[in-house]
Symmetry: C2
Subunit: 878 residues, 2 copies
């Protein structure tokens, strides 16, 4: 038997997308399960290869196969390709194995010529529609199949509208469209020195050839090279009959969901518009009818409609979102896909599908996108209210939630107005650690600069506070306390509303709805918890956040940062005093004043978490972050310390760093000033002893050293900790176990993980910093150029949001292997932002970590993602 | 036969330092080749292990072995341990396999007690010497062997001096010392509740035990853990007879070099001081005699002396630096080691030793420390002048050489005064790229801040210009143009002299001597070139530097940086204009003005290097480095560009980066502004076409993309380059090959080297940045805390000076393996500062790079280091 190159959809099922391309394989599957779709066929990828092997010609025997396939479609539709009546029109689309921009996309309405257009006009009784279709076809054919710029043709249309004084395309009459068609054809002749092809078969073969040709065009080649798509794959071509819902009153079009996308309720949710095209539904120019109208007009069609939808749900095991068309009383589905849904609906549908026996629990857990859980945990704006509004500006959705308040331009102001009972939004060009108190006081935070992992974003997510970052459309003048959008200027008396889930910023107040956690949430999460292997801890240190984390199911505190603790008004003075002292004794004295505060901080955490794991990280940021920057603060600090402002400025200038991210911070501070680590160790151990006594439960604090890059360095600081801790425990005459481990966040530490692991109880990967160092860019500065990387398709995603598996991920893998090899008891986790990102959580599961730690509001997300990772692993092993 | 634990030196040869420790093995070797050393014995490391296995007791049978060994020494010396006449005194020293701080060091004069001290006093006719030795012994025994603090005893000595009004220890009389000995003994008794041990055997066993005990003390344990020295190794103990050159006129002491350490001439260079101790020679209180004096006094001893020195040279195959003592007409060598020598001497000695048949050429090449070549290439201060002076301050030896000039406090001033014919030293708190012209104009550069790899240091080394960096002792006031050292204030009329080889800064002018390259230099370098596998290229871009590099033997330019080229007065304006333009067109216009300059820059390089490889790196630093910072400059720039100063300040503020090292720079600029890469490519290709025509030689320029971290990113920028270059070549209708490659300086790029290598012709490891990212610290900021790391023995060396093999080196290895696997033709090199560091060059050789590129003045260093690496590899294979 001769080799076959063309497959009608019904004979193609199971042949795979290597042969049919992605789109062709999908159409074959729909036919296979009995979905009524417009008939058609796929010209295979092998035909494409053959085309290139045949000096860029489609061999005659393949042309013949295409013609035969067209004839079968004629039979199936009862229409005639280029025929005198009931003309068959088709679409031609490329369809490679993987979606590929740069290739020819779509030519619609192929089969039209001066004769068939007239027949179509008569049979649909709609000459305007017929000629509109025709002029679109000529343009698409010229531009897409023949590769000629559309500029001139577009101009002809614009000229016509201007001449007639029309604003919309729809105002153009059938006759005018007919005239336009003539002009288009004349232009085509001028350009190509030949008439626009009349013969539909010629049109078709030329279009298929155009698709094949486009596989080799420069844009496609660059794309392929960048995405490692082999040139040999080739592309398939799909040819499918066009159907028209606007043919007559026996026709129509609509959209349908197999269940309610907003509540998840099990009822078909659909709309139908008789004698109309898909565009009419979308454009909203006519109001669609309730789907019962279809039942009333065509009970048989309605019955088939309902049955087909049920069949699709069962086949795809999920709620479907479909487009359908009725042509002359015959039902066609044009598209089906998993339907978008609200978080509530997603949980209910997954849960119901289990009860209905359509999917098992594993599949239900896999079905819920962990990211949507976020919206359930934060209050949100009323959707209906929101739909009516236009945002002032759209920034980055840095921390989800909804917040409304008057603008406060400084942290100090935010704090004061909050204390006076006002609701405020803290609006800053960017935030710094000095703004912490203002951030705590504000309903939400809005910044003009900074990315998803800027200071504002990270801290806000940690607090579970709404934040929109990098809203560049808003020009903030911090000195004059104004925010300008275009010509409009807003002051501290204006109200803004922030949607942290979308990044939208609105002027004025918007009605809120409270967080909704239905029983389905609990049911799905319980299933998830039974399935996951990864522990989920939280990054938290304030009483409120620690409690929230525990409420959301955190099994420990994986990262309690100690730096925020020093910004409180009473404490910052001693912190500054410590930094400004010249001697060890001076620093020790200032640290002694901080000790009771720190001990109290840790006691509160231990008290909430009890026997659950609490990991405290020693001081991390460079010391200059704690010094004041404004003149009046410097002056008053100088006075309080009996120094001159010049002394303080000298110290500030001494501490200045060119690249603070790569400066004197982390355990480097402990190496230079062991007394700081001693004080913090003392606070942790004393607090643990106290809490253990008060709770009557065994508490095992974990002390984490940040920024380690060398085993000797680690050991030096570990010795400070253990000698301090052991002495306190001995003096207190109690039994207390504690562990000392380290962050792994410097590339060198991953490579030397074996050496470091010998003396460490645990590793916690700080993937924020590890990503910065591995990429060599700082998250704050990268925001400025990352958009160019996305625009130019160099990066597909933000490496600070989802872990880069190839680079950063490999370093994590190396460290896990070497660390475990050297110390099989090593407890391994991650405490970077990635710990709350589902894709990253899956990677961490696969790489064999023991736990992830994330901000409190991401805990449920991580629990679900961890379960999905475990299920996927189980399924892959089957 | 019973196991042996104690070895007299003469029976220990060849038993290895595992058993004898390093010191013991060395003494055995000296005895073996017939060097007369004071006799003695080694208590082995196995005895140490046995001690710990025997509940910290030295078993009786080992004690007996020690006694037996002492008796043998008595026989050899004819002295008596604790005897009534001619008393034998010994030293006790620890000697582990590897040198270990934290352990017991040395006890001298052991064997003294109230009786033997008197005998010694009589026999030497020097009671002062006898009692001085005794009081020292009691102190060392108490402090070192018994581990009791020396504070009280030191105080007794101080009290005595104060009481008598003495300034120096030497003023104390014999009787007073005797009194002190009594006080010491009384103190000892008070502390230990027992008499100071009289029995020399008891003193000895107690001291040996103390050495063993010190193996397990906390400091030693920490050190061992940090340096991975196994606890099981144990330490040995060396017991050696003391000899005294101050015994009488038949005794004496001296130092000797087997050849001249300053010229390398083959004559013994020695001094002798009769009736004296080593200390007397060092202290310079008495003038030593020429060595002929020894011949005159003791012709037999002198003959033995000369013969022994010759024997040692032949044995150690090198010029020796020795200490010797004559006691009662008998010669002893106390120490021998390879002698320190000047660069000139090193070359002559290595060369002569080959001619004398003592070493082969390989060994001669290995024998010259590459680092000393530096001093041959730069003019230097007259050594005699220098010896008389005290430096004002000592900073880091950032770039070798000597420079003298008046102080210039700004780059502008330096340039103007240079042009007016003055010699100036540019003195700055720290330098920035804006200072380039001033650096070029200055004789030398002096900065208050910054490390060995600060901007000033790197640029100065690149220029071969003397630089002392981080001279913190000098307080520079840039506004008032003064430099203060202590209370002394220097102005722009004062002259400073900088020694870039030592980091010393002097007030006033110092006489200079020109660079001296004798014929030995050429001979050794020719040997080296025949032996090395690595090519040596240079980092250079100015005409002068490129020429220097070629003169010093560079086989290509491995890194021509283009950023310095934009700081010239005529160019910086267009550069700033380009940065301040908002549109692509505006930028292109400004770039068009820069093109002729750039083309000319590259033409000059190609002209000098001809067919030798030239690698040009595209623009690397962030754009803000090019913008002015001072108000008046901003104002005049605004005027010239028809903008307001506020516009310019806004742009400066927009371009501000938190961490410029990790910001918008390198190829990230090319991604955002392809037009910059286009202009630079145009300049390179046009210059190459021109130079190829003018020289009639094939030129193959290499274009290097900086900061790559991803294959798509690389490909995007490579496409800009190739499309630009190919068009120019096509239009010019010439044949020109060019290569496109990349720096590998971001950790991620090393991991993804396989993907990147597919499209790259070469990799050049930028180990400066790679070290920064791998360690997570910036070289500028790290200077502040690295001293703490050295002090605390966490780091042994500066990772910016010598490559860190475990971390950074592993990434290089990974990239080499993956890169070559994916692209076997890949040309691999390094262009970081490490390319000129001998230890690093050896690593690069071993890891399989094809070339190293370093600053011009390091080229000879790298050539020699590369040869040494090749020779070592060859020897290791034997």
């Amino acid at each position: 038997m001769a080799k076959k190159y063309v497959y009608n959809f019904e004979e193609a099922y199971g042949l795979g997308k290597e042969l049919l391309g992605g789109k062709g394989a999908g159409l074959a599957e729909m036919i296979h399960i009995g979905i009524p779709i417009p008939p058609g066929f796929t010209v295979s990828t092998e035909a494409c290869t053959l085309y290139y092997e045949s000096k860029k010609q489609i061999p005659d025997y393949v042309v013949k196969e295409i013609y035969d396939a067209v004839h079968r479609v004629e039979k199936q539709t009862g229409k005639n390709f280029g025929g005198k009546s009931n003309p068959l029109l088709v679409s031609v689309r490329s369809g490679a194995r993987a979606s590929m921009p740069g290739m020819m996309d779509t030519v619609l309405n192929l089969g039209l010529n001066d004769e068939t257009v007239e027949i179509l006009a008569k049979e649909t009784n709609n000459p305007r529609f017929a000629y509109d279709s025709y002029r679109r076809f000529i343009l698409m054919y010229t531009n897409i199949a023949k590769g000629h710029p559309r500029t001139e043709m577009d101009k002809m249309l614009e000229d016509l509208k201007e001449e007639r004084g029309y604003k919309l395309d729809t105002e153009i009459t059938a006759d005018e469209l007919k005239g336009l068609v003539d002009k288009f054809k004349a232009y085509y002749k001028k350009v190509f020195k030949e008439d626009f092809p009349k013969n539909p078969y010629e049109q078709l073969i030329e279009s298929v050839t155009a698709v094949f040709r486009s596989w080799d065009n420069p844009r496609a080649n660059v794309y392929r090279k960048m995405h490692n798509i082999p040139y040999e794959w080739g592309t398939a071509v799909n040819v499918q009959a066009m159907v028209f819902g606007n043919k007559n009153e026996e026709s129509g079009t609509g959209v349908a969901f197999s269940r309610s996308p907003s509540t998840g309720e099990k009822t078909i949710f659909a709309e139908y518009l008789p004698n109309a095209q898909g565009e009419d539904v979308v454009a909203g120019t006519r109001t669609p009818l309730h789907i019962e109208e279809l039942d009333a007009r065509h009970p048989e069609v309605y019955k088939e409609f309902v049955e087909t939808i049920e069949r699709m749900e069962k086949h795809y095991h999920d709620m479907q979102d479909m487009e359908f068309t009725v042509e002359d009383g015959k039902l066609y589905f044009l598209q089906t896909r998993s339907g978008k849904r609200t978080a509530q609906a997603a949980l209910k549908i997954a849960s119901d599908l289990v009860d209905e026996g359509i999917i098992d629990i594993d599949e239900a857990v896999l079905r819920v996108d962990p990211n949507i859980l976020d919206t359930l945990l934060h209050p949100s704006f009323d959707e209906k209210e929101l739909a009516k509004l236009t945002p002032l500006s759209v920034g980055l959705p840095a921390s989800p939630g909804a917040a409304t308040g008057k603008l406060a331009f400084t942290a100090q102001e935010a704090k004061e107005r909050f204390e006076a009972g006002e609701k405020v939004i803290l609006i800053r060009v960017e935030t710094s650690p000095e703004d912490i108190e203002g951030m705590v006081a504000a309903e939400g935070i809005l910044t003009m600069r900074g990315g998803m992992t800027s200071h504002a974003a990270v801290v806000a997510r940690g607090m579970g506070k709404t934040c929109v970052a990098g809203a560049g459309g808003i020009v903030i003048d911090e000195v004059n306390k104004t925010a300008r959008v275009g010509n409009k200027v807003y002051t501290d008396q204006d109200v803004f509303s922030l949607n942290g889930t979308t990044g939208s910023v609105y002027a004025g107040e918007i009605k809120m709805q409270a967080a909704q956690m239905t029983g389905y949430f609990g049911r799905i999460m319980a299933w998830a918890d039974e399935r996951r292997r990864l522990e989920v801890h939280a990054n938290a240190e304030t009483e409120r956040d620690v409690q929230t984390a525990k409420d959301f199911g955190a099994e420990g505190i994986g990262l309690a940062r100690t730096e925020h603790m020093f910004f409180d008004k009473d404490r910052i003075f001693y912190m500054r005093k410590m930094i400004l002292e010249d001697t060890v004794e001076g620093r020790e004295e200032a640290l002694a004043s901080l000790l009771p505060y720190q001990r109290d901080d840790f006691y509160k955490i231990f008290k909430i978490m009890g026997k659950l794991n609490v990991t405290v990280r020693l001081l991390d940021p460079p010391l200059h972050e704690f010094l004041p920057q404004e003149e009046d603060q410097i002056v008053s600090l100088a006075k309080a310390l009996n120094k001159t402002p010049a002394d303080i400025k000298t110290r500030i200038s001494d501490l200045h760093e060119f690249n603070p991210m790569m400066g004197h911070r982390g355990l480097r501070l402990a190496v230079s000033y062991p007394e700081i680590a001693k004080m913090q160790t003392t606070a942790i151990i004393e607090a643990a002893i106290l809490a253990q006594k008060d709770l009557g439960e065994k508490i095992t604090p974990e002390i984490m050293i940040p920024l380690t890059l060398d085993s000797k360095e680690f050991l030096y600081v570990k010795n400070i900790i253990t000698s301090t801790a052991d002495e306190i425990i001995k003096e207190a005459n109690v039994k207390l176990d504690y562990l000392v481990g380290t962050m792994i966040e410097i590339p060198r530490a991953t490579l030397l993980a074996d050496e470091i692991a010998k003396d460490a109880s645990f590793f916690s990967f700080g993937t924020n910093d590890l990503t910065q160092m591995t990429y060599g860019f700082s998250r704050d500065d990268a925001a400025k150029f990352l958009n160019d990387y996305y625009d130019k398709k160099i990066f597909a995603q933000d490496p600070f949001q989802t872990i880069d598996q190839k680079g950063v991920g490999e370093l994590v893998k190396i460290a896990v292997e070497r660390g475990r090899e050297a110390n099989p008891d090593l407890h391994l986790g991650v405490c970077g932002e990635h710990g709350g990102d589902p894709l990253s959580v899956e990677f961490f599961h696969n790489v064999g970590l023991d736990y992830v730690s994330c901000s409190p509001f991401r805990v449920p997300v991580a629990r679900l993602a961890a379960a999905q990772a475990a299920i996927k692993e189980k399924l892959a092993k089957k």
